[in-house]
Amino acid sequence: MCLGVPGQVTEVWEQDGTRFAMADFGGVRKQICLAYVPDVLVGDYTIVHVGFALTKLDETSALETLELFRSVGLLDEELGVGEAASGPTSVTG
Protein backbone atom coordinates (compact mmCIF):
# COMPACT_ATOMS: atom_id res chain seq x y z
CA MET A 1 0.00 0.00 0.00
CA CYS A 2 2.39 2.57 -0.95
CA LEU A 3 2.90 3.12 -4.62
CA GLY A 4 5.33 5.96 -4.18
CA VAL A 5 7.12 6.84 -7.37
CA PRO A 6 10.33 8.88 -7.61
CA GLY A 7 9.99 12.03 -9.68
CA GLN A 8 12.22 15.02 -10.36
CA VAL A 9 10.83 18.48 -9.73
CA THR A 10 11.10 20.68 -12.81
CA GLU A 11 8.97 23.72 -11.88
CA VAL A 12 7.59 25.12 -8.63
CA TRP A 13 4.85 27.67 -8.04
CA GLU A 14 2.47 28.78 -5.36
CA GLN A 15 -1.31 28.75 -5.53
CA ASP A 16 -3.64 29.88 -2.77
CA GLY A 17 -0.75 29.67 -0.33
CA THR A 18 0.21 26.09 -1.21
CA ARG A 19 3.31 25.03 -3.13
CA PHE A 20 2.76 22.96 -6.26
CA ALA A 21 5.23 21.56 -8.73
CA MET A 22 5.57 19.87 -12.05
CA ALA A 23 7.43 16.58 -11.59
CA ASP A 24 9.04 14.41 -14.23
CA PHE A 25 8.68 10.67 -13.67
CA GLY A 26 11.07 9.38 -16.31
CA GLY A 27 9.22 11.13 -19.12
CA VAL A 28 5.76 11.31 -17.57
CA ARG A 29 4.93 14.78 -16.24
CA LYS A 30 2.33 15.39 -13.61
CA GLN A 31 1.39 18.22 -11.34
CA ILE A 32 2.03 17.40 -7.69
CA CYS A 33 1.57 19.11 -4.35
CA LEU A 34 4.69 20.07 -2.37
CA ALA A 35 2.91 21.14 0.80
CA TYR A 36 4.61 18.41 2.82
CA VAL A 37 8.14 18.99 1.58
CA PRO A 38 9.01 22.67 2.09
CA ASP A 39 12.68 21.95 1.45
CA VAL A 40 12.23 20.44 -2.01
CA LEU A 41 13.50 22.64 -4.84
CA VAL A 42 13.70 22.42 -8.61
CA GLY A 43 16.06 19.59 -9.56
CA ASP A 44 15.40 17.55 -6.42
CA TYR A 45 13.94 14.06 -6.56
CA THR A 46 10.96 13.24 -4.41
CA ILE A 47 8.72 10.27 -3.63
CA VAL A 48 5.19 11.02 -4.79
CA HIS A 49 2.12 9.18 -3.57
CA VAL A 50 -1.34 9.99 -4.95
CA GLY A 51 -0.25 13.41 -6.10
CA PHE A 52 1.60 14.49 -2.94
CA ALA A 53 5.35 14.59 -2.45
CA LEU A 54 6.20 12.89 0.84
CA THR A 55 9.94 13.28 1.13
CA LYS A 56 13.05 14.43 -0.66
CA LEU A 57 15.12 11.49 -1.89
CA ASP A 58 18.57 11.52 -0.41
CA GLU A 59 21.06 10.91 -3.20
CA THR A 60 24.03 10.31 -0.93
CA SER A 61 22.06 7.68 0.93
CA ALA A 62 20.96 6.06 -2.32
CA LEU A 63 24.53 5.84 -3.57
CA GLU A 64 25.66 4.38 -0.28
CA THR A 65 22.94 1.76 -0.45
CA LEU A 66 23.97 0.73 -3.95
CA GLU A 67 27.59 0.63 -2.83
CA LEU A 68 26.56 -1.67 0.00
CA PHE A 69 24.92 -4.01 -2.49
CA ARG A 70 28.05 -4.00 -4.63
CA SER A 71 30.18 -4.85 -1.64
CA VAL A 72 27.90 -7.78 -0.87
CA GLY A 73 28.60 -8.95 -4.40
CA LEU A 74 32.35 -8.67 -3.88
CA LEU A 75 32.07 -10.57 -0.63
CA ASP A 76 30.17 -13.31 -2.43
CA GLU A 77 32.99 -13.54 -4.96
CA GLU A 78 35.61 -13.81 -2.26
CA LEU A 79 33.71 -16.55 -0.55
CA GLY A 80 33.11 -18.39 -3.82
CA VAL A 81 29.38 -18.06 -3.43
CA GLY A 82 27.26 -18.08 -6.53
CA GLU A 83 26.20 -21.67 -6.92
CA ALA A 84 22.84 -20.76 -5.45
CA ALA A 85 19.78 -21.81 -7.44
CA SER A 86 20.21 -20.42 -10.90
CA GLY A 87 17.18 -19.48 -12.91
CA PRO A 88 15.91 -21.45 -15.92
CA THR A 89 17.99 -21.25 -19.06
CA SER A 90 17.18 -18.39 -21.37
CA VAL A 91 14.11 -18.91 -23.48
CA THR A 92 15.09 -16.52 -26.22
CA GLY A 93 17.84 -18.70 -27.62
Binding site: M1, C2, L3, V5, M22, F25, G26, G27, V28, R29, K30, H49, V50, S86, G87, P88, S90, V91, T92, G93
Partner: protein
Protein backbone atom coordinates in the same frame (compact mmCIF):
# COMPACT_ATOMS: atom_id res chain seq x y z
CA UNK B 1 -34.52 -13.51 -17.13
CA UNK B 2 -34.15 -16.52 -19.41
CA UNK B 3 -34.43 -19.99 -17.99
CA UNK B 4 -31.71 -21.51 -20.11
CA UNK B 5 -29.05 -18.97 -19.21
CA UNK B 6 -26.80 -20.97 -16.94
CA UNK B 7 -24.42 -18.64 -15.20
CA UNK B 8 -22.55 -21.24 -13.17
CA UNK B 9 -18.91 -21.25 -14.13
CA UNK B 10 -18.84 -17.74 -15.51
CA UNK B 11 -15.98 -15.57 -14.34
CA UNK B 12 -17.14 -12.56 -12.47
CA UNK B 13 -16.00 -10.60 -9.48
CA UNK B 14 -19.51 -10.98 -8.18
CA UNK B 15 -21.69 -13.95 -9.06
CA UNK B 16 -23.90 -12.90 -11.94
CA UNK B 17 -26.81 -15.02 -10.79
CA UNK B 18 -28.08 -12.25 -8.54
CA UNK B 19 -27.50 -9.37 -10.94
CA UNK B 20 -27.20 -10.79 -14.41
CA UNK B 21 -26.15 -7.80 -16.46
CA UNK B 22 -23.38 -6.57 -18.66
CA UNK B 23 -20.52 -4.88 -16.83
CA UNK B 24 -17.65 -2.82 -18.22
CA UNK B 25 -15.31 -5.76 -17.71
CA UNK B 26 -17.17 -7.69 -20.42
CA UNK B 27 -15.60 -5.36 -22.95
CA UNK B 28 -12.09 -5.47 -21.54
CA UNK B 29 -10.73 -8.23 -23.75
CA UNK B 30 -9.92 -10.47 -20.83
CA UNK B 31 -11.54 -13.38 -19.05
CA UNK B 32 -14.90 -11.65 -18.62
CA UNK B 33 -15.10 -10.96 -22.35
CA UNK B 34 -14.28 -14.60 -23.09
CA UNK B 35 -17.08 -15.69 -20.81
CA UNK B 36 -19.66 -13.53 -22.51
CA UNK B 37 -18.66 -14.91 -25.90
CA UNK B 38 -18.30 -18.55 -24.94
CA UNK B 39 -21.26 -18.92 -22.60
CA UNK B 40 -23.82 -16.60 -24.09
CA UNK B 41 -23.09 -15.57 -27.67
CA UNK B 42 -21.66 -18.79 -29.10
CA UNK B 43 -24.50 -21.04 -27.95
CA UNK B 44 -27.01 -18.47 -29.15
CA UNK B 45 -25.56 -17.97 -32.61
CA UNK B 46 -25.07 -21.63 -33.35
CA UNK B 47 -22.04 -22.74 -35.32
CA UNK B 48 -22.56 -25.36 -37.98
CA UNK B 49 -19.22 -24.98 -39.69
CA UNK B 50 -17.22 -24.72 -36.52
CA UNK B 51 -15.74 -21.44 -37.71
CA UNK B 52 -17.14 -19.25 -34.96
CA UNK B 53 -15.91 -21.58 -32.24
CA UNK B 54 -12.35 -20.98 -33.32
CA UNK B 55 -12.82 -17.49 -31.92
CA UNK B 56 -10.21 -16.02 -34.17
CA UNK B 57 -10.13 -12.30 -34.69
CA UNK B 58 -11.10 -13.10 -38.28
CA UNK B 59 -12.96 -15.97 -39.88
CA UNK B 60 -11.38 -17.87 -42.76
CA UNK B 61 -14.08 -19.00 -45.16
CA UNK B 62 -14.18 -21.00 -48.33
CA UNK B 63 -15.91 -19.00 -51.04
CA UNK B 64 -16.18 -19.86 -54.71
CA UNK B 65 -13.17 -22.15 -54.78
CA UNK B 66 -10.96 -19.70 -52.94
CA UNK B 67 -10.67 -18.49 -49.40
CA UNK B 68 -11.44 -15.17 -47.82
CA UNK B 69 -10.88 -13.82 -44.35
CA UNK B 70 -13.58 -11.69 -42.75
CA UNK B 71 -13.43 -9.67 -39.57
CA UNK B 72 -15.55 -7.14 -37.77
CA UNK B 73 -14.81 -4.82 -34.89
CA UNK B 74 -16.46 -1.94 -33.08
CA UNK B 75 -14.63 1.15 -31.95
CA UNK B 76 -15.86 2.95 -28.89
CA UNK B 77 -12.66 4.49 -27.59
CA UNK B 78 -12.83 7.44 -25.26
CA UNK B 79 -11.36 9.99 -25.77
CA UNK B 80 -12.04 9.94 -29.51
CA UNK B 81 -8.93 11.98 -30.19
CA UNK B 82 -5.67 10.95 -28.57
CA UNK B 83 -1.98 11.56 -29.22
CA UNK B 84 -1.18 9.85 -32.50
CA UNK B 85 -4.65 9.53 -33.95
CA UNK B 86 -8.35 9.26 -33.49
CA UNK B 87 -11.11 6.67 -33.50
CA UNK B 88 -11.13 6.78 -37.31
CA UNK B 89 -7.55 5.48 -37.52
CA UNK B 90 -8.41 2.69 -35.12
CA UNK B 91 -11.54 1.76 -37.02
CA UNK B 92 -9.67 1.21 -40.27
CA UNK B 93 -6.37 -0.17 -39.03
CA UNK B 94 -7.90 -2.37 -36.38
CA UNK B 95 -9.95 -4.34 -38.87
CA UNK B 96 -7.27 -4.30 -41.59
CA UNK B 97 -4.94 -5.85 -39.03
CA UNK B 98 -7.39 -8.48 -37.86
CA UNK B 99 -7.81 -9.59 -41.47
CA UNK B 100 -4.06 -9.46 -42.12
CA UNK B 101 -3.33 -11.66 -39.10
CA UNK B 102 -4.87 -14.62 -40.94
CA UNK B 103 -2.31 -14.12 -43.67
CA UNK B 104 -4.92 -12.64 -46.00
CA UNK B 105 -4.49 -9.54 -48.15
CA UNK B 106 -7.05 -6.98 -46.91
CA UNK B 107 -9.14 -5.61 -49.75
CA UNK B 108 -12.45 -4.08 -48.72
CA UNK B 109 -14.05 -2.40 -45.74
CA UNK B 110 -17.64 -1.75 -44.78
CA UNK B 111 -18.26 1.05 -42.28
CA UNK B 112 -21.21 1.35 -39.93
CA UNK B 113 -21.56 4.48 -37.87
CA UNK B 114 -23.83 5.34 -34.99
CA UNK B 115 -23.75 9.07 -34.41
CA UNK B 116 -25.03 10.87 -31.39
CA UNK B 117 -27.31 13.79 -32.02
CA UNK B 118 -25.27 16.93 -31.32
CA UNK B 119 -21.92 15.61 -32.57
CA UNK B 120 -20.12 18.47 -34.29
CA UNK B 121 -20.02 18.03 -38.06
CA UNK B 122 -16.46 19.31 -38.10
CA UNK B 123 -15.46 16.43 -35.84
CA UNK B 124 -17.29 13.88 -37.94
CA UNK B 125 -15.60 15.30 -41.03
CA UNK B 126 -12.19 14.95 -39.45
CA UNK B 127 -12.87 11.37 -38.40
CA UNK B 128 -14.24 10.44 -41.83
CA UNK B 129 -11.32 12.00 -43.69
CA UNK B 130 -8.96 10.21 -41.32
CA UNK B 131 -10.64 6.95 -42.23
CA UNK B 132 -10.32 7.65 -45.93
CA UNK B 133 -6.63 8.41 -45.59
CA UNK B 134 -6.04 5.35 -43.44
CA UNK B 135 -7.85 3.15 -45.94
CA UNK B 136 -5.71 4.45 -48.81
CA UNK B 137 -2.56 3.87 -46.77
CA UNK B 138 -3.68 0.33 -46.05
CA UNK B 139 -4.52 -0.33 -49.68
CA UNK B 140 -8.19 -1.05 -48.96
CA UNK B 141 -11.36 0.49 -50.31
CA UNK B 142 -14.33 1.53 -48.21
CA UNK B 143 -16.99 -0.04 -50.38
CA UNK B 144 -20.20 0.17 -48.43
CA UNK B 145 -21.52 1.57 -45.22
CA UNK B 146 -24.40 2.69 -43.07
CA UNK B 147 -25.02 5.66 -40.84
CA UNK B 148 -27.54 6.04 -38.04
CA UNK B 149 -28.23 8.77 -35.52
CA UNK B 150 -29.36 8.26 -31.93
CA UNK B 151 -30.77 10.70 -29.42
CA UNK B 152 -28.43 12.94 -27.58
CA UNK B 153 -27.25 11.21 -24.42
CA UNK B 154 -27.44 7.76 -25.94
CA UNK B 155 -24.30 7.38 -27.92
CA UNK B 156 -21.04 8.77 -26.57
CA UNK B 157 -20.43 10.86 -29.71
CA UNK B 158 -19.71 8.24 -32.33
CA UNK B 159 -19.52 4.46 -32.44
CA UNK B 160 -17.90 2.94 -35.53
CA UNK B 161 -18.11 -0.66 -36.67
CA UNK B 162 -15.93 -1.81 -39.53
CA UNK B 163 -16.06 -5.12 -41.33
CA UNK B 164 -13.15 -6.15 -43.50
CA UNK B 165 -12.62 -8.77 -46.16
CA UNK B 166 -9.34 -10.06 -47.50
CA UNK B 167 -8.23 -12.84 -49.78
CA UNK B 168 -5.93 -15.70 -48.84
CA UNK B 169 -3.38 -17.11 -51.20
CA UNK B 170 -3.40 -20.90 -51.52
CA UNK B 171 -1.22 -22.62 -49.01
CA UNK B 172 -1.40 -19.91 -46.39
CA UNK B 173 -2.53 -21.67 -43.23
CA UNK B 174 -2.13 -19.87 -39.94
CA UNK B 175 -3.78 -20.56 -36.64
CA UNK B 176 -3.44 -22.13 -33.21
CA UNK B 177 -3.50 -25.61 -34.76
CA UNK B 178 -0.06 -24.90 -36.25
CA UNK B 179 1.63 -23.73 -33.06
CA UNK B 180 4.26 -26.21 -31.82
CA UNK B 181 6.65 -26.47 -28.87
CA UNK B 182 9.89 -24.89 -29.98
CA UNK B 183 8.22 -22.11 -31.96
CA UNK B 184 9.81 -18.71 -31.53
CA UNK B 185 7.59 -15.95 -30.17
CA UNK B 186 8.36 -12.62 -31.80
CA UNK B 187 6.86 -9.16 -31.24
CA UNK B 188 7.14 -6.65 -34.07
CA UNK B 189 8.17 -3.68 -31.97
CA UNK B 190 7.90 -1.73 -28.71
CA UNK B 191 4.74 -2.28 -26.70
CA UNK B 192 2.39 -0.25 -24.57
CA UNK B 193 2.23 2.90 -26.68
CA UNK B 194 -1.44 3.02 -27.62
CA UNK B 195 -2.87 2.24 -24.21
CA UNK B 196 -0.67 4.77 -22.45
CA UNK B 197 -1.34 7.44 -25.09
CA UNK B 198 -5.08 7.05 -24.55
CA UNK B 199 -4.76 6.89 -20.77
CA UNK B 200 -2.62 10.00 -20.67
CA UNK B 201 -5.59 12.08 -21.79
CA UNK B 202 -8.28 10.21 -19.95
CA UNK B 203 -10.09 12.24 -17.37
CA UNK B 204 -8.70 11.90 -13.87
CA UNK B 205 -5.48 10.40 -15.08
CA UNK B 206 -4.12 13.14 -17.28
CA UNK B 207 -0.37 13.30 -17.28
CA UNK B 208 1.99 14.93 -19.69
CA UNK B 209 3.90 12.60 -21.92
CA UNK B 210 5.25 12.45 -25.44
CA UNK B 211 3.85 9.00 -25.99
CA UNK B 212 1.77 8.66 -29.14
CA UNK B 213 -0.38 5.76 -30.23
CA UNK B 214 1.27 3.26 -32.54
CA UNK B 215 -1.92 2.84 -34.57
CA UNK B 216 -0.85 1.58 -38.00
CA UNK B 217 -1.75 -0.98 -40.70
CA UNK B 218 0.31 -4.17 -40.64
CA UNK B 219 -0.65 -5.77 -43.94
CA UNK B 220 2.66 -4.85 -45.53
CA UNK B 221 4.68 -6.38 -42.72
CA UNK B 222 2.58 -9.54 -42.89
CA UNK B 223 3.04 -9.80 -46.66
CA UNK B 224 6.81 -9.36 -46.34
CA UNK B 225 6.99 -12.05 -43.69
CA UNK B 226 4.93 -14.53 -45.69
CA UNK B 227 6.94 -13.84 -48.85
CA UNK B 228 10.25 -14.43 -47.12
CA UNK B 229 9.81 -18.17 -46.83
CA UNK B 230 9.50 -18.11 -43.06
CA UNK B 231 7.23 -20.88 -41.79
CA UNK B 232 4.79 -18.65 -39.91
CA UNK B 233 2.41 -20.62 -37.69
CA UNK B 234 0.26 -17.92 -36.18
CA UNK B 235 -0.03 -14.16 -35.85
CA UNK B 236 -2.19 -11.92 -33.73
CA UNK B 237 -2.27 -8.22 -32.94
CA UNK B 238 -2.17 -7.56 -29.18
CA UNK B 239 -4.90 -4.95 -28.77
CA UNK B 240 -7.12 -4.94 -25.67
CA UNK B 241 -5.43 -6.85 -22.87
CA UNK B 242 -2.03 -6.39 -24.46
CA UNK B 243 0.61 -8.97 -25.24
CA UNK B 244 -0.43 -10.89 -22.11
CA UNK B 245 -3.97 -11.46 -23.37
CA UNK B 246 -2.76 -12.49 -26.83
CA UNK B 247 -0.20 -14.98 -25.53
CA UNK B 248 -2.75 -16.47 -23.15
CA UNK B 249 -5.38 -16.82 -25.87
CA UNK B 250 -2.93 -18.57 -28.16
CA UNK B 251 -1.55 -20.78 -25.39
CA UNK B 252 -5.06 -21.87 -24.50
CA UNK B 253 -6.32 -22.45 -28.01
CA UNK B 254 -3.18 -24.27 -29.12
CA UNK B 255 -2.86 -26.15 -25.82
CA UNK B 256 0.80 -25.29 -25.46
CA UNK B 257 2.79 -23.37 -22.88
CA UNK B 258 4.56 -20.11 -23.58
CA UNK B 259 7.71 -18.89 -21.83
CA UNK B 260 8.91 -15.34 -22.26
CA UNK B 261 11.93 -13.42 -21.08
CA UNK B 262 10.78 -10.18 -19.45
CA UNK B 263 14.04 -8.44 -20.19
CA UNK B 264 13.58 -9.14 -23.88
CA UNK B 265 10.14 -7.54 -24.10
CA UNK B 266 10.65 -4.15 -25.76
CA UNK B 267 9.10 -1.42 -23.62
CA UNK B 268 10.05 2.19 -24.38
CA UNK B 269 11.46 4.03 -21.37
CA UNK B 270 8.63 6.52 -21.21
CA UNK B 271 5.99 3.80 -21.43
CA UNK B 272 7.76 2.02 -18.60
CA UNK B 273 7.78 5.23 -16.59
CA UNK B 274 4.09 5.85 -17.22
CA UNK B 275 3.25 2.28 -16.25
CA UNK B 276 5.30 2.60 -13.09
CA UNK B 277 3.54 5.84 -12.28
CA UNK B 278 0.09 4.30 -12.62
CA UNK B 279 0.94 0.88 -11.30
CA UNK B 280 0.30 -0.90 -14.61
CA UNK B 281 2.07 -3.82 -16.23
CA UNK B 282 3.15 -3.03 -19.84
CA UNK B 283 2.33 -6.59 -20.88
CA UNK B 284 -1.35 -5.80 -20.37
CA UNK B 285 -1.44 -2.44 -22.15
CA UNK B 286 -3.12 -2.18 -25.56
CA UNK B 287 -1.24 -1.84 -28.84
CA UNK B 288 -2.66 -0.88 -32.23
CA UNK B 289 0.26 -1.27 -34.62
CA UNK B 290 2.06 -4.37 -33.42
CA UNK B 291 1.83 -8.06 -34.03
CA UNK B 292 2.93 -11.17 -32.20
CA UNK B 293 4.16 -13.96 -34.49
CA UNK B 294 4.74 -17.62 -33.73
CA UNK B 295 7.25 -19.01 -36.24
CA UNK B 296 9.05 -22.31 -36.70
CA UNK B 297 12.14 -22.46 -34.49
CA UNK B 298 14.61 -22.82 -37.35
CA UNK B 299 13.27 -19.66 -39.01
CA UNK B 300 13.49 -17.36 -36.00
CA UNK B 301 16.51 -15.43 -37.26
CA UNK B 302 15.14 -15.07 -40.79
CA UNK B 303 11.81 -13.86 -39.41
CA UNK B 304 13.54 -11.24 -37.29
CA UNK B 305 15.71 -10.04 -40.17
CA UNK B 306 12.72 -9.81 -42.49
CA UNK B 307 10.62 -7.90 -40.00
CA UNK B 308 13.41 -5.56 -38.98
CA UNK B 309 13.92 -4.65 -42.64
CA UNK B 310 10.32 -3.44 -42.88
CA UNK B 311 9.28 -0.02 -41.55
CA UNK B 312 6.57 -1.55 -39.35
CA UNK B 313 8.86 -4.18 -37.88
CA UNK B 314 12.00 -2.17 -37.27
CA UNK B 315 11.93 -2.94 -33.58
CA UNK B 316 11.11 -6.65 -33.90
CA UNK B 317 12.45 -8.77 -31.08
CA UNK B 318 12.19 -12.40 -30.04
CA UNK B 319 10.60 -12.51 -26.61
CA UNK B 320 10.08 -16.19 -25.96
CA UNK B 321 9.44 -19.77 -26.94
CA UNK B 322 6.54 -22.20 -27.07
CA UNK B 323 7.05 -25.14 -24.72
CA UNK B 324 5.21 -28.34 -23.94
CA UNK B 325 5.24 -27.77 -20.19
CA UNK B 326 2.30 -26.05 -18.47
CA UNK B 327 -0.06 -26.07 -21.48
CA UNK B 328 -2.34 -23.08 -21.55
CA UNK B 329 -0.17 -21.09 -19.17
CA UNK B 330 2.16 -18.21 -19.98
CA UNK B 331 5.22 -17.91 -17.76
CA UNK B 332 7.73 -15.08 -17.67
CA UNK B 333 11.27 -15.14 -16.43
CA UNK B 334 11.55 -11.87 -14.53
CA UNK B 335 14.26 -9.25 -14.74
CA UNK B 336 16.04 -10.68 -11.71
CA UNK B 337 15.78 -14.30 -12.78
CA UNK B 338 12.61 -15.36 -10.97
CA UNK B 339 9.45 -16.73 -12.55
CA UNK B 340 5.92 -15.46 -12.58
CA UNK B 341 2.74 -16.59 -14.25
CA UNK B 342 1.34 -14.00 -16.68
CA UNK B 343 -2.36 -14.65 -16.40
CA UNK B 344 -5.19 -13.68 -18.71
CA UNK B 345 -6.35 -10.30 -17.48
CA UNK B 346 -9.78 -10.39 -15.89
CA UNK B 347 -10.82 -7.06 -17.34
CA UNK B 348 -9.17 -3.78 -18.16
CA UNK B 349 -6.19 -2.92 -15.95
CA UNK B 350 -6.87 -0.15 -13.45
CA UNK B 351 -4.33 2.24 -12.00
CA UNK B 352 -3.52 1.26 -8.43
CA UNK B 353 -2.06 2.87 -5.33
CA UNK B 354 -0.94 -0.33 -3.68
Amino acid sequence: MSDHLDLAGWSCPMPLRDHPQVVMGHGGGGALSSDLVEHLLLPAYGDDGGVLAQLGDAAVLGVGGGRIAMSTDSFVVRPRFFPGGNVGDLAVNGTVNDVAMTGARPLHLAVGMVLEEGLQLAELDLIARTMGAAARRAGVGIVTGDTKVVDSGHGDGVYITTTGIGVLDPGVDLGPHRVRPGDAVIVSGPIGLHGIAVMSVREGLEFGSEIVSDCAPLHGLVAALLASGVDVHMMRDPTRGGVAATLNEIARSSRTGVQIEERAVPVPDDVRAACGFLGLDPLYVANEGKLVAFVAAEHADLALATMQAHERGAGAVRIGTVVDEHPGVVVARTGIGGTRVVDLPLAEQLPRIC
